[in-house]
């Protein structure tokens, strides 16, 4: 769709990049914006009273506004800049759930989570002696909604789109049903695999927290977003203490800044925030609808081609309408790492392993899978090269 916007493809002519679920490539405009900051107005934000500092501060707040509009938050103060989705989840666990939950109470997640939305909750449950429940999925990779679990749970941590199966969970419906039977449940949605690929409206979803990473959506590594409803964020204690998150500091006590600054201690990844703002512009210019359609087309084509390969097992929904641009597979008698390595030697970049989702793989009954994932820069010819590559792997391994 837009391969020419991404310099990596000019610098690596035969690169077939099929690992956008791990991290996306970066368009020239994003790289330019970061360089522009470092070259022309590098200064710390919310401190200096000179023009370049004012400009840097304005750019950071501009990015906050853009992100806020992009996911339709009610107010830009609900957008907190963090390192990545992982950090955002840890902030919620430590600063919201930990202080408010009591021994013996229950928290819920799903078995299709990335470790980042599983381990923090699991560890919380261990530390605070909580019951730890999870929603399971069927053979097509669709979640079962379990009333008894949701009714008792104080919180639900759930992914918008699975980073292995590709399943797009019907989050809006799940949240509506959950609130119907449990009006106090606090719901965190992991949007790392959805925000870069489809239109997200946090008010429409009615989630309490929503987290995502910049580097999967064309921005640089090291920047992510924690969205939270204002009334919840305002109630939360700081996660990190330090510079810029305070109101006033006396020798024996401190008062803290309002949201969002209360959660932004220390100098932020300013270039990263600026890159995120530009990435949002870039995505919006292409149109989230157009991006989703392009990736749906690629997914459909890839599923069709792969189903023809003998000895292949595909995981997750087989219908491109129900899934993001992620396809996990295995080939009989060949270890995923051997597949990925042989493909990698031909510059075809896929991922192999457990993709930071070991409980999901245990559930599938395999130790590892191969994963192909798309970005807007992929075309159907990438799929053709991949399929040819897989045939070559099969030949080498005589499988």
């Amino acid at each position: 769709m837009k391969k020419k916007d991404f310099p990596i493809f000019q610098n690596n002519k035969d690169l077939v990049y099929l690992d956008s679920a791990a991290t996306s490539q970066k368009p020239q405009v994003v790289l330019d914006a970061m360089m522009d900051y470092y070259k022309n107005y590098n200064a710390n934000v919310r401190r200096g009273l000179y023009p370049i500092a004012e400009k840097a501060t304005a750019k950071v707040e501009e990015a906050r506004d853009k992100v806020s509009e992009f996911i339709n938050a009610e107010d830009p103060s609900e957008i907190i800049f963090v390192r990545n989705a992982t950090e955002a989840i840890n902030i919620v666990v430590e600063s919201y759930t930990y202080p408010s939950i009591k021994e013996g109470e229950e928290i819920a997640t799903t078995i299709m989570e990335h470790h980042s939305n599983f381990v923090p909750w699991q560890q919380l449950a261990i530390k605070k002696f909580l019951k730890f429940g999870y929603l399971d999925f069927d053979h097509n990779g669709n979640l079962f909604f379990v009333d008894e679990l949701i009714k008792k749970a104080k919180s639900l941590a759930i992914t918008h789109a699975s980073n292995v199966l590709g399943t797009i969970n019907p989050i809006k419906e799940i949240i509506r049903n959950a609130r119907k039977i449990n009006k106090d449940i606090v719901i965190l949605v992991d949007g790392a695999q959805s925000v870069p690929h489809m239109k997200v409206d946090v008010q429409d979803l009615d989630c309490d927290f929503f987290v995502f990473s910049g580097h999967k959506m064309m921005a640089s590594t090291g920047i992510g977003v924690l969205y939270g409803k204002k009334k919840l964020l305002s109630r939360m204690e700081p996660f990190l203490y330090g510079g810029q998150m305070i109101q006033e500091v006396a020798i024996d006590r401190s008062t803290f800044a309002d949201i969002p600054y209360r959660f932004e201690a220390g100098t932020l990844d300013i270039a990263g925030i600026i890159s995120l703002g530009v990435a949002v512009d870039y995505l919006e210019k292409l149109g989230m609808e157009a991006i989703r359609n392009h990736e749906k087309k690629l997914t459909r084509y890839c599923l069709d081609q792969m189903e023809k390969i003998e000895g292949i097992t595909l995981y997750g929904p087989k219908n491109a309408e129900e899934k993001g641009g992620i396809i996990a597979f295995n080939i009989e008698r060949i270890h995923p790492h051997d597949i990925a390595q042989v493909l990698g030697d031909r510059n075809i970049c896929i991922r192999a392993g457990h993709h930071c989702a070991m409980p999901l793989h245990t559930r599938l009954g395999v130790s590892a899978t191969c994963r192909v994932s798309f970005g807007i820069y992929n075309e159907t010819e990438d799929v053709d090269i991949l399929v040819k590559g897989i045939q070559k792997v099969k030949k080498i391994f005589k499988a």
Binding site: V342, H354, M358, S367
Partner: protein, 147 residues
């Protein structure tokens, strides 16, 4: 270490999937359980989900020394076998290593370094695949130090 890998790559000029590796993967040598083993050890490689167990039976007086009991460094591997599942690199590695280790003394094998193991494999091993290449080696070292 890194330098060594680079040298190894230059010397062998072989890709990770040269025929010998694939043959060892398809039909690994010394595959199976050793019921009468002196020691066994199992390790997993979480990166790949590989899991290998090595079984060793020592000949406790291989050099015919007169000391009673003979010092442990003189113990030699009388029988060795392995079981498990994994990628081509880890299975071929375990197959080649167990073959190499037969008849060797504890002293000889303790000196057998990571570099020696990579040389035995004779293939390019990237940083990320090093754990696969060294899985069998690490288990054997465990067998040696635990007995």
């Amino acid at each position: 270490m890194r330098n060594y890998i680079r040298c190894a790559m230059k010397r062998t000029m072989n890709s990770a999937y040269r025929d010998e590796i694939l043959e060892h993967y398809r039909e690994p040598l010394n595959y199976g359980k050793l019921l009468s083993c002196t020691v066994s050890s199992k390790q997993t490689n979480p990166f790949c989900g590989d899991e290998i167990e090595i079984y060793v039976k020592f000949d406790k007086n291989s050099l015919g020394v007169l000391a009673n009991p003979p010092p442990r460094w003189t113990w030699a591997i009388q029988e060795i076998a392995f079981t498990g599942k994994g990628c081509a690199i880890s299975i071929a590695g375990a197959s080649m290593l167990t073959e190499y280790a037969k008849g060797k003394t504890k002293k000889e094998l303790t000196k057998f370094s990571q570099e020696d193991m990579l040389r035995l494999l004779g293939i390019e091993v990237s940083e990320t695949r090093k754990k696969c290449a060294l899985l069998g080696w690490s288990i054997l070292q465990d067998c040696l130090s635990n007995n």
